[in-house]
């Protein structure tokens, strides 16, 4: 089944506001860096990196950007390289670096156990069913005895992948988010109203989701 994605904000580009009063210098600097300086691999091993690429391609598929996807794995690697946590660790979880290592290894191990193949070489439905099993806690043995699978999936994997993706201007575009807004904020606050510098919703073509 081909995966299809379309946005109701097809003619919107938040970067077109770069030189307008919606963007101040510090925000331009931050986004310039995010777009221009994709971090190199410094923490993960090459095989961990490859597995994580395959995982991210399922957690956040980008069939609409085959040649130029929003990079995710480099930013996870950078977080791990910096060793910057988010301020807490669940008492039943290893530290963040160990959690990632164990989790990536555990997904790879599950692929080989079930299908005798690397995770990255499985077809999408098989990859998804492994990820779903981890999300639901339906995996056992190493490393899941020391890494609670549901917690890993939700608090570590999803949180990071989704956080990185929706920090990218391409993601702001497809959801019609106003994006940076300083010094100029907004004037029209009522339902159905938008300022001229906000995204225009054109059409909904969410086939089969009931939002039509």
């Amino acid at each position: 089944m081909a995966e299809h994605f379309s946005t109701p904000y097809a003619d919107y580009d938040v970067l077109a506001k770069w030189d307008t009063p919606s963007w101040n210098e510090q925000t331009r600097e931050v986004v310039r860096k995010r777009l221009g300086e994709v971090p190199p691999r410094r923490f993960l091993e090459p095989d961990e990196w490859a597995t994580l690429e395959a995982i991210c391609a399922r957690v956040l598929p980008q069939p609409d950007r085959l040649t130029d996807p929003v990079p995710i794995v480099p930013f996870i690697d950078a977080q791990l390289h910096r060793g910057q946590g988010d301020g807490y660790r669940y008492e039943d979880m290893p530290d963040l670096r160990a959690s990632w290592r164990l989790g990536i290894g555990g997904i790879e191990r599950e692929a080989r156990r079930r299908h005798d193949m690397p995770f990255g070489e499985l077809d999408a439905p098989r990859q998804d069913s492994i990820l779903t099993a981890i999300q639901n806690g339906d995996v056992e043995g190493e490393p899941w005895d020391e890494l609670p699978p549901k917690r890993f999936f939700s608090s570590v994997l999803l949180k990071s992948v989704v956080g990185i993706y929706y920090a990218h201007p391409a993601a702001w575009n497809e959801i019609g988010f106003g994006g940076p807004a300083s010094p100029r904020g907004y004037v029209r606050l009522a339902a159905g109203q938008r300022d001229p510098w906000e995204a225009r919703e054109i059409a909904r073509v969410d086939e089969g989701t009931g939002h039509g």
Binding site: E3, Q26, R89, D92, L158, A167, E201
Partner: protein
């Protein structure tokens, strides 16, 4: 931008937060000079108190572990970048309902969590100060509501709160200093729902300006409030109490992590040991005030144990670290036919306190307020992923409904329990200090309150036109951990925040709360600081 690595409040000056690149003169004290008050923390408690004490003529030094930000130059319109505002030092969280820490309920920097708070400035219901005697649950506070009412007014004046002309619940409180803001579409969803349900609602009393105040402009509704205000419309501690404290002669020491309260032979505190610019230093002080909030304040007391106080300072009652509370912060989300675009304006522009002031029709003790919501994309995507379990194409498609989302979130009272607490783990942080271990579990009553709120919020959202509603679990705020009281055997401090065992050691922050109430805590923390000061 990144976080500043060197202190800025030094060499006799501090950043002028109202002007790019400019400075204000600041008085400074030598480590060896015995100041009147060393205050640990510059948030809602410590920042407020620094002003009050300096104004009263005392020599004050206030320490903050985090940086002294320049909002105009440094705060980006970007969720990811602004993660630097939170306390991200290692902590362990456990119990049956482990609390999310970090960005959820902490600040690190001059001004503390008020840098990123959502600006709700709400008073406690008067009866909550005597909830045991009058309502039959929790414990009584050692202060009276009438007294607190005066200090709430002082706080509302200092922050120039924009709020409704009249407040439908509780005793009369007079007008707020500034007119309410125009309510955004998300807030009007709450309004419509409440009217359908037959209950009152109000434009939220907010600490963001509805008209110019000196060098601070009115709010432009940019919507990034929860990751720092880049215009100074938000009346955080950084732009209100702190500049005035410096003007009155207080010294602020940024990037200064206090690791220990120093004790003398006579059982009195003699100062603090702090880490700044790569070395440990000692500041002598006649009085020490802890204002590091519900985790760092008890942690510091425990980490300062001596042979005379082997279980930590001021811990004769055993209540240091205990009675830790949060607010249940579950939300009901739904999708609206019309475009809401809740990213515009402060996140919570309308609330109802109906269930804080109504005692009938409840199968639980305590109360809750609930308000409209305005999550930014990262935050909303994380809710859908972690809260609703969406990922893959399902998540990307659902995210295209972002401009149609509407939600209501509760701030629900949680019972104080001795078993919910802060302790020390064996692990150590970058300063060599033992890190905190936080344990939290809801009580049966807490769960009944949450169920009631979820059901009522769902009905309200659906009455306003919300479709496909779903519930997200979560907590907000921290309170308790060093509660005040009337009985030295059951509390850590008296009504003034003075510890029972060490007469010149004080506490002035949210850890003093004996109970949590059903409203956001910052107004009450500041009001207590005004009272102590």
């Amino acid at each position: 931008m990144g976080s500043p690595e060197r202190p800025r409040a030094r060499d006799g000056r501090a950043p002028n937060v109202f002007r790019r690149g400019e400075w204000v003169p600041m008085r400074q004290y030598d480590d060896d000079e015995e100041v009147d008050f060393a205050i640990v923390g510059t948030g809602a408690g410590g920042g407020t108190l620094a002003y009050k004490l300096a104004k009263a003529g005392f020599k004050v030094v206030a320490f903050d572990a985090g940086p002294y930000w320049r909002p105009l130059e440094e705060f980006a319109s970007d969720e990811e970048e602004q993660q630097t505002l939170y306390w991200t030092e290692p902590r362990i969280t456990g119990g049956q309902d482990p609390i999310q820490l970090g960005s959820n309920n902490s600040g690190r920097g001059v001004g503390g969590s008020t840098i990123h708070f959502t600006m709700l400035v709400l008073r406690f219901r008067p009866e909550w100060f005597r909830s045991r005697s009058l309502l039959g649950y929790g414990v009584d506070w050692p202060v009276s509501w009438k007294e607190m009412w005066r200090y709430y007014r002082e706080v509302e004046e200092m922050l120039q709160i924009s709020g409704p002309l009249s407040y439908p619940w509780g005793p009369r409180r007079g007008r707020y200093p500034r007119r309410p803001h125009e309510i955004n579409a998300a807030g009007l969803v709450l309004a419509r729902g409440c009217e359908q349900m037959g209950i009152s609602w109000v434009p939220t009393p907010l600490a963001t300006l509805s008209s110019r105040r000196g060098e601070a402009p009115p709010c432009v509704y940019r919507g990034f409030c929860a990751v720092g205000c880049s215009t100074n419309a938000k009346q955080s501690v950084l732009v209100t109490w702190i500049p005035r404290a410096i003007e009155e002669g207080a010294e602020i020491r940024d990037l200064a992590m206090v690791g220990r309260v120093e004790m003398g032979d006579g059982g009195r505190a003699t100062g603090v040991l702090y880490h700044r610019e790569g070395e440990w230093r000692r500041q002598r002080a006649r009085h020490v005030v802890l204002a590091g909030y519900s985790i760092e304040t008890p942690r510091l007391l425990l980490n300062s144990a001596t042979s005379r106080f082997p279980d930590g300072l001021a811990n004769g009652s055993g209540w240091v670290g205990r009675g830790l509370m949060v607010h249940s912060n579950n939300g009901v989300w739904g999708s609206m036919e019309e475009e809401i675009r809740s990213y515009k304006g402060p996140p919570v522009m309308a609330i109802t306190e109906h269930w804080n002031y109504t005692d009938t029709g409840k199968d639980f003790h305590g109360g809750y307020q609930f308000g409209s919501q305005g999550p930014l994309p990262q935050s909303w995507a994380t809710s859908l992923a972690a809260g609703r379990g969406l990922w893959g194409m399902e998540l990307r498609r659902e995210m295209t409904r972002y401009n149609h989302l509407a939600g209501l979130k509760m701030v629900g009272e949680v019972e104080p329990q001795a078993a919910n607490r802060v302790e020390l783990a064996d692990e150590r942080d970058q300063y060599g200090l033992r890190i905190p271990r936080v344990t939290f579990s809801y009580s049966e009553n807490d769960r009944r309150l949450i169920r009631h709120a979820e059901e009522f919020m769902r009905q309200t959202l659906e009455a306003a036109g919300g479709k496909e509603t779903w519930v997200e679990e979560g907590t907000a705020h921290l309170m308790g951990g060093c509660r005040m009281g009337e009985d030295p055997g059951e509390s850590v401090t008296d009504a003034d925040g003075r510890t029972w065992e060490i007469p010149n050691l004080w506490i002035c922050d949210g850890s003093l709360f004996p109970t949590g109430g059903g409203v956001n805590p910052s107004a009450t923390i500041m009001a207590l600081a005004c009272r102590t000061g």
